[in-house]
């Protein structure tokens, strides 16, 4: 077929400001990646309360939850196993977040919304609709048809883990309703930090349960909805979230980052976690 020549990189006859959106996406994701990597590598200031801060609400940064091992010398009260394992090589940096962040990271990396957005903003494939691509790709384009991006098809497995995390983070939000005083007595209370962690669960839940894979598994895979009434009802609910998937993707991304900032600054003593109730 004698097709017209493909346009060159960034070539377009569009006259609107098409570059704004990919630029914002680039900056937004970029900022999150830089901050979350930095925060994950700190290995400290990821909690308040517990034996270390008697009387403070027990907040745990979502970047570090669940804590398998606490970093040496830290006692968050959240560790499932204990202290940094002895077999950990001394030359290798240890941070409890390193065992955790890859999972939500992979979930977002393979998310249908994020894929569509970062293919545009990070590798110009295409930068925006009707805008030319770098010529090295040309007819060699592989998309998700072939390796390596074929692996994106494993997204549903990342979803299963992400659903487990919603449970764990809900538990953390529950735990954040208590503080332990110097005598070891538990007191109920609601602080700004408890609300921050609760909202984090709500926004992450809105994102996770609006997932395209979830929408498929919960009912979308059926052809006959009248034969599967419960699945149809569930599919309709998930579809409501799914049409807002991009919104929840951004809100939850921002808020999970802010939750870490909040816990970190409170833990460092720069911010005070004001108690509202109790």
């Amino acid at each position: 077929m004698p097709l017209p020549q493909a346009p060159g990189f960034l070539e377009t006859r569009r006259i609107d400001r098409w570059w704004i959106q990919p630029t914002l996406v680039f900056l937004g994701f970029g900022a999150f990646i830089v901050y979350s990597t930095w925060a994950a590598l700190q290995g400290s200031n990821y909690f308040t309360g517990g034996p270390t801060h008697p009387g403070a609400q027990q907040l745990l940064s979502p970047f570090y939850s669940p804590v398998l091992w606490d970093a040496t010398g830290l006692h968050s009260g959240h560790a499932w196993i204990g202290q940094q394992p002895a077999w950990w090589p001394t030359w290798l940096l240890f941070s409890p977040a390193l065992f955790i962040l890859p999972f939500p990271g992979l979930f977002r990396f393979t998310c249908y919304y994020y894929r569509g957005a970062y293919y545009k903003a990070f590798w110009g494939d295409p930068s925006s609709c009707g805008v030319g691509e770098p010529s090295f790709r040309g007819t060699r384009y592989r998309g998700e048809q072939k390796f390596p991006l074929l692996l994106q098809n494993a997204h549903r497995y990342a979803l299963y883990i992400a659903i487990l995390f919603i449970g764990i983070l809900s538990y953390d939000a529950w735990v954040s309703l208590w503080s332990v005083d110097a005598e070891g007595v538990k007191h109920f209370g609601i602080s700004v930090g408890s609300l921050v962690l609760a909202l984090n669960v709500i926004l992450l839940g809105g994102y996770t349960f609006g997932c395209h894979c979830f929408r498929h598994i919960i009912g979308g895979r059926q052809d006959c909805f009248s034969c599967h009434k419960h699945q149809h009802a569930a599919w309709k609910r998930v579809s409501w979230l799914n049409t807002r998937h991009m919104l929840f993707a951004w809100l939850s991304l921002f808020w999970v980052g802010f939750s870490d900032v909040y816990v970190r600054l409170c833990s460092m003593g720069i911010w005070t976690d004001w108690r509202i109730v109790g």
Partner: protein, 260 residues
């Protein structure tokens, strides 16, 4: 001229607007500049017709209904795939010429007319609607509204091929031999999700139809004049069905047990 920067909305006055219209054929072509007299309420197709009637009688363009329903007048207006008959002049800035060019993902025939016959060849290869045995001896079936609701959206397609045009897999990567394009993924979604249909098109989708080439940028969804949620409601659910059948070890295992 400052006043010309504003879109033409007034239906009582007429104003000259510059157009750059692509003229040429498969061997090449270029933009040529024309002026149309525009009043409020006019659409791009009106301007093309005016230029054709008054200045260049041999300007080729394709149209039929002028009501956004036949899908013939697809073109690229200021770089965006759109129906000429549904693009109102009052939505376009007029301080610079309005560019009108043919679809870039298909071979040119002449001026604004492209050869979209590739699409008809693609359609012929798709396994047609294959209903199960009728539920009753009189040859009828029972169906409920909720069974058909989801695919009604896909049936609104007017085959304007704007989605095919904007899709970078065809437009930039020229994968016409390996990828059927969003319009036909919508077509397959309508068939695959139909509760009466018993044919299986999933293996074709994965290999011959190249669904994996779609990288879900949603450009097709954005240009669809029928507002079909192509990517989210048709393509992604089909991708998930391909995963069920070919990539997910758990669903594959389950299928083996069920078939025993």
């Amino acid at each position: 001229m400052a006043s010309h920067a504003q879109p033409v909305t007034d239906s009582t006055t007429t104003r000259p607007v510059q157009f750059k219209i692509w003229r040429g054929d498969a061997s090449g072509g270029a933009f040529e500049q024309y002026t149309a007299r525009v009043t409020g309420g006019m659409v791009v197709l009106d301007c093309i017709h005016q230029v054709q009637a008054e200045q260049v009688p041999d300007l080729a363009c394709r149209w039929n209904c002028k009501a956004g329903k036949c899908g013939s007048c697809s073109a690229e207006i200021n770089g965006k795939p759109a129906l000429m008959c549904m693009t109102r002049m009052d939505t376009l800035p007029t301080d610079q010429p309005v560019t009108v060019e043919p679809l870039r993902a298909f071979p040119s025939i002449r001026d604004l007319v492209t050869d979209v016959s590739w699409n008809y060849e693609v359609k012929k290869k798709i396994t047609p609607f294959t209903p199960r045995k009728p539920d009753r001896p009189d040859g009828t079936w029972t169906m409920y509204q909720e069974d058909i609701e989801r695919t009604q959206e896909f049936r609104k397609c007017i085959e304007c091929f704007l989605c095919q045009d904007v899709c970078h897999v065809l437009r930039d990567h020229h994968k016409h031999d390996e990828f059927i394009g969003p319009r036909f993924l919508v077509n397959i979604a309508a068939l695959e999700m139909h509760p009466l249909d018993v044919a299986d098109r999933i293996a074709d989708l994965k290999d011959r139809d190249g669904i994996g080439y779609c990288n879900i940028g949603k450009c097709c969804t954005k240009v669809c004049p029928e507002s079909i949620t192509i990517t989210d409601n048709a393509i992604i659910p089909l991708k998930e069905r391909v995963v069920d059948e070919f990539y997910d070890p758990i669903t594959r295992l389950l299928r083996i047990f069920r078939s025993k």
